[in-house]
């Protein structure tokens, strides 16, 4: 009797972990895109997601737009934001030490976290997706439709970006820029345009991430905290790998849920926010470039 129960419990933890993990991968993708193309590290990824969720929520609730209009407006808003940000903040920092870029995005995160509640109001809003609320019951599993949609969007995007980088002309140019900026320039690639494009793509990913996560958790400043979960995901998977983002996301999602299910009763809660970072520290010690990252790590 007990064994059977445990098995079912584990299975539901696993399913939940996979779905959440794919949604993490979606956000991590924004981070990976920027790093891949521009070598810049975006510590404000969580704030991007929060901003997008605010856009979406305001369009839905205050402007009363239909869902698909809200999604389109959010996408447009985040693309504009990505372009503007690159122009104003990141372009002047090209060629500066990596610490400067890190600090600039940390500053940016603070600005966004301060601006969003001032502009949109501090109260928690909700994004209601046009789907059934009731969980889908499938054998012993209860699956939330929102998570299912989130995971679906994530898989779709991951596939689309993989295709983009492998096959499309722009994607190949972007890889060239990431590989060596000077050589790319010599081949006639407009490097600055691709930098801007990378940030706009991060905006696109964050827009969908924001709507999906916003409908799962509710929209307020605390939504930005999922940005902190991005780091374990990308470190595990490899900073510049899209496949790595998926695998890292899955690992973190599953570990987090299993840890919460089995360790929380023992240590008294909170393992969900703790286990990913322990895993990340181990990864940094053992294999800092991640599972799929390129091995070219700066060594001393």
């Amino acid at each position: 009797m007990f064994d059977w129960f445990e098995w079912e419990f584990t299975l539901s933890l696993l399913t939940n972990g996979v779905l959440i993990g794919l949604m993490y991968a979606l956000i991590a993708l924004g981070f990976v895109l920027v790093y891949k193309a521009t070598d810049a590290i975006n510590f404000a990824q969580g704030e991007f997601v929060m901003l997008a969720a605010f856009f979406g929520a305001v369009m839905l609730l205050s402007a009363g737009a239909p869902f698909w209009v809200a999604v389109l407006v959010t996408l447009a808003g985040m693309i504009a934001f990505g372009f503007g940000l690159e122009r104003v903040v990141l372009r002047p920092l090209i060629g500066r030490p990596i610490v400067s870029v890190i600090m600039a995005t940390i500053g940016l995160a603070a600005v966004l976290r301060g601006v969003a509640p001032l502009v949109f109001g501090a109260e928690t809003r909700s994004i209601v997706m046009p789907v059934e609320d009731a969980p889908i019951i499938w054998g012993p599993l209860f699956i939330s439709p929102i998570q299912l949609i989130g995971a679906g969007v994530a898989v779709m995007f991951l596939a689309a970006f993989t295709w983009f980088f492998l096959k499309s002309r722009m994607g190949i140019a972007m890889r060239a820029v990431a590989d060596n900026q000077q050589v790319a320039m010599a081949m006639g690639i407009n490097v600055e345009r691709y930098f801007a494009l990378a940030w706009a793509m991060a905006g696109v990913v964050s827009a969908l991430g924001g709507i999906v996560w916003g409908s799962l958790l509710g929209v307020d400043v605390h939504l930005a905290l999922i940005g902190l979960k991005v780091f374990p995901v990308v470190i595990l998977g490899g900073l510049d790998s899209i496949v790595g983002a998926i695998v890292g996301g899955l690992i973190i999602g599953i570990v987090e849920n299993i840890a919460a299910g089995y360790l929380d009763p023992v240590v008294g809660g909170g393992t969900k926010d703790f286990a990913p970072y322990v895993l990340m520290i181990i990864a940094l010690m053992v294999r800092p470039y991640g599972i799929f990252g390129k091995r070219q790590i700066e060594r001393v």
Binding site: L93, V99, A104, A110, V115, I235, Y277, P288
Partner: protein
């Protein structure tokens, strides 16, 4: 200060290495000593003295972080966590073993140094971005541990009350007394940093920052010196945590969250990376900023906003101004307030000529 030398008259190495090469600089230091030790604590109201005390604590922490980030070129987003390690070590020692502050203070610093060194170990293999993420993880893990292990945090609310520090049977409790107590450590920290930077260790730090491979080639053991940097820097952080705990009378993890790490990074970036004067400027600026913002908004904000809005606006405005200043200084003046100060000074040094 605005002094002009008529030429270089140094005849010995000792004169060349003196901290204050000109008599006028020594007089200026003496003048500052009189101002800070005599005039200020007597003339200023208790409330303003509280602010000065907060600045004093921030100076110690900013100096420590600047040793790591500004001089050694490593990055740490986990400094607030090192402060909390110091704070809780001291609080536990003071409450459980009834130890006086002159034992708990170095003990807190050493404990923080030990943890900081542990966090610094990955810096052997990784740098830049990876180190930033590793220290971020350290911040979150330490925060979580303190919050969840009752043996450290003292259970409810994760806060421990500490007795007031005692010196020769004399209890330090008013702000004026605390002022002198803290000022002693500020002066100590400034002098220690100044001498550290002039020493072999400090030179090695700077060499590692400027070109780590070149530093290794001229015989600097990079791993060891990076760990030194982490240890020294987190020792300062630990001491800052202890001082803050004695200042508040309570050790509370909420005072050492990740926002505080970012505040300290803001201090050294705004003040000036790799500069002692810059750390002091930054600590003053960042500590005063929210206070000034609040005063201004309370006095003039009601002209534009309603009362309820204001309460919402002030903390957010602080975040915005902070972030914007970090970005502004990074783009426009990467060497911070210290550079601005040097520009002003060198302008007046040759005034009225342009050079």
């Amino acid at each position: 200060m605005f002094h002009r030398e008529a030429g270089i008259y140094k005849t010995s190495y000792a004169a060349d290495m003196a901290l204050y090469p000109l008599p006028v600089a020594r007089w200026a230091v003496a003048g500052f000593a009189v101002l800070f030790l005599g005039v200020l604590p007597l003339a200023v109201h208790e409330y303003y003295l509280t602010i000065v005390n907060l600045i004093s604590i921030a100076i110690v922490g900013a100096l420590g972080l600047n040793i790591l980030v500004g001089y050694t070129g490593q990055i740490s987003i986990g400094h607030a966590a090192f402060m909390s390690v110091g704070a809780y070590t001291a609080a536990n020692l003071a409450v459980r073993l009834d130890l006086p502050f002159w034992i708990t203070l170095p003990a807190g610093g050493l404990m923080a140094a030990a943890i900081g060194t542990l966090v610094g170990i990955p810096s052997l293999r990784i740098k830049g971005l990876y180190l930033a993420i590793a220290t971020l993880a350290a911040q979150l893990i330490i925060e979580w541990t303190i919050n969840h292990v009752e043996w450290i945090s003292g259970g409810v609310q994760a806060s421990i009350e500490v007795p007031r520090p005692e010196l020769f049977g004399y209890v330090i409790k008013s702000q004026t007394q605390l002022y002198f107590f803290l000022m002693f450590f500020v002066v100590l920290a400034i002098i220690a940093t100044q001498n550290l930077i002039r020493s072999r260790i400090g030179r090695a730090f700077i060499a590692i920052r400027d070109q780590d491979i070149a530093a290794e080639i001229i015989g600097i053991n990079i791993f060891r010196y990076k760990l030194y940097a982490f240890a020294i820097s987190s020792f300062y952080a630990g001491v800052t945590g202890v001082l803050y705990t004695y200042f508040l009378g309570i050790a509370n993890y909420e005072q050492f969250q990740i926002v505080v790490s970012i505040d300290y990074l803001a201090m050294i970036i705004i003040g000036g990376l790799g500069s002692i004067l810059g750390s002091i400027f930054g600590a003053i600026f960042v500590t005063l900023l929210p206070i000034v913002l609040r005063l201004v908004m309370e006095d003039f904000g009601s002209l534009i906003f309603s009362e309820a809005d204001l309460r919402n606006i002030i903390p957010n405005l602080r975040l915005i101004v902070f972030g914007a200043l970090i970005i502004f200084f990074l783009i426009v003046e990467p060497e911070g307030l210290n550079r601005l100060w040097r520009n002003i000074r060198s302008y007046f040094r040759v005034w009225p000529f342009s050079y």
